[in-house]
Symmetry: C2
Subunit: 266 residues, 2 copies
């Protein structure tokens, strides 16, 4: 059992929680809580840290067994309750925290995985809650993957992880240096039509056909899409807004577009 705050493993988890750079270097992220533990893919689960209290519960052993692990496994570390609390990002920790290895998807993977991919392309998205919500809603709407500019918020930030409610395990997420140079040409190659949600859109979003390969471009929360990426889109669409609303929240706009695509595809 780990009983000291200065235990090197505890220090490593703290670094992984705090620093995107450490996460990138080790290709591992931290997922906290019972639901995240339950849904963790067994083949990507590197380590489970469990509080003394939670380790004593049958719920813990049941989930562990579901992943073909037992409490004596090298992958399981029991941690003194107080030390565990220092790792937790929440006020009332549930007593379990996993290290998960990052998925390894390529742009090509997600573009040829299905005949008609449904992709979200996010440029410079900054809010962790927005990204988490887009991934969670995206899984619900059946997206094939989420592509982000490298200037966007880190998807392995604990706040993003939490707000995905487990979808982080299942929705492929890929960062690119340049959407214009890396993603746009490949979308063309695979015959995927690109739509930018934009105030200057001519047609309402529901007047387009998303039943074939579709990618939606969504921009930064404050500034919207850059002119450069807007110019790359095949079609500008608008989400009509009544009253004096100037724009919708980026996650909300994404959700409305993804669910319109899902509606058309049913």
């Amino acid at each position: 059992m780990i009983t000291s705050m200065s235990n090197p493993q505890i220090k490593e988890v703290q670094q992984l929680l705090k620093k995107a750079k450490t996460r990138r270097e080790e290709r591992v992220f931290v997922a906290e809580g019972i639901k995240m533990f339950r849904e963790a893919p067994a083949d990507r689960l590197c380590k489970v840290y469990v509080s003394e209290t939670f380790a004593g519960k049958t719920e813990f052993e049941d989930i562990l067994r579901g992943k073909s692990l037992n409490p004596d496994s090298d992958k399981v570390e029991i941690v003194d309750d107080k030390v565990f609390k220092s790792l937790s990002d929440t006020v009332t920790p549930q007593g379990v925290l996993c290290l998960i290895s990052m998925g390894n998807w390529s742009l090509q993977d997600i573009m040829k995985e299905t005949e008609y991919p449904l992709l979200m392309v996010l440029e410079d998205l900054q809010d962790p809650g927005n990204l988490g919500t887009i991934i969670r809603t995206g899984e619900g709407a059946g997206v094939t993957g989420v592509i982000l500019s490298k200037t966007s918020v880190d998807v392995f930030n604990p706040k993003v992880i939490r707000s995905t409610m487990g979808s982080i395990y299942r929705v492929p997420v890929i960062y690119v240096d340049s959407i214009e140079e890396e993603v746009v040409p490949m979308l063309k190659t695979y015959g995927i039509t690109t739509y930018a949600a934009h105030l200057k859109g001519e047609n309402n979003y529901d007047q387009e056909d998303y039943s074939k390969g579709t990618a939606f471009f969504i921009g930064n929360e404050g500034n919207g899409l850059t002119d450069e990426l807007t110019a790359c889109a095949d079609t500008l669409i608008k989400i009509p807004m009544a009253g004096q609303v100037e724009s919708l929240n980026a996650a909300m706009a994404s959700g409305i577009l993804m669910y319109e695509a899902a509606r058309q595809r049913r």
Copy 2:
């Protein structure tokens, strides 16, 4: 100019920021920032507190003039920059903060305002960001009003105000002691059909007709709708979810339903 932190007006604003009870008693709420000042309805603007720095800018005087006020008005108080900062909810305050009197809508007002109202009925909603997003998206989708159970988060909480992006001024919001007893009978009287987003819904949400009077019931983030309110709904609808998603975020579910209604009504 106000230069002291112990000035009674400053103390009052602090109370209004912190306490829902004070806001309810005085029927006033605080709206911070330039956008919120610009969009504040002149007839409900009780007071403007402006930092010394922002008071010197032409932008301030322009907005003030737009509301037929001048800097010498009783409604305008200039505040020392440091004291202003102590009032602000943000890290880099924009230098202006308004006291706004609460709107005064009745359930009857919003149910007979238009021939076919579009209403959101929120039961025990707890997250300030969710409520703000529902109000902002709701204005965009053209909702007639938002009704909340009194156990829900306070709409005049500074976090909600901020995330409405000004829609708080324009979307009627009404709290009720009991949705079942006060709202449901009135919805029936006015011939408004009620839909509950529910996992047990038979039809997908897009298979129903929302072109006539429509009210959507949305439940608490963690627990969903109570059985009592679910039983009051005319129709249970479901938002289909791919993958392993169990539910959508409450604001996202609301937005998808409101924009489906807006789509059908166009």
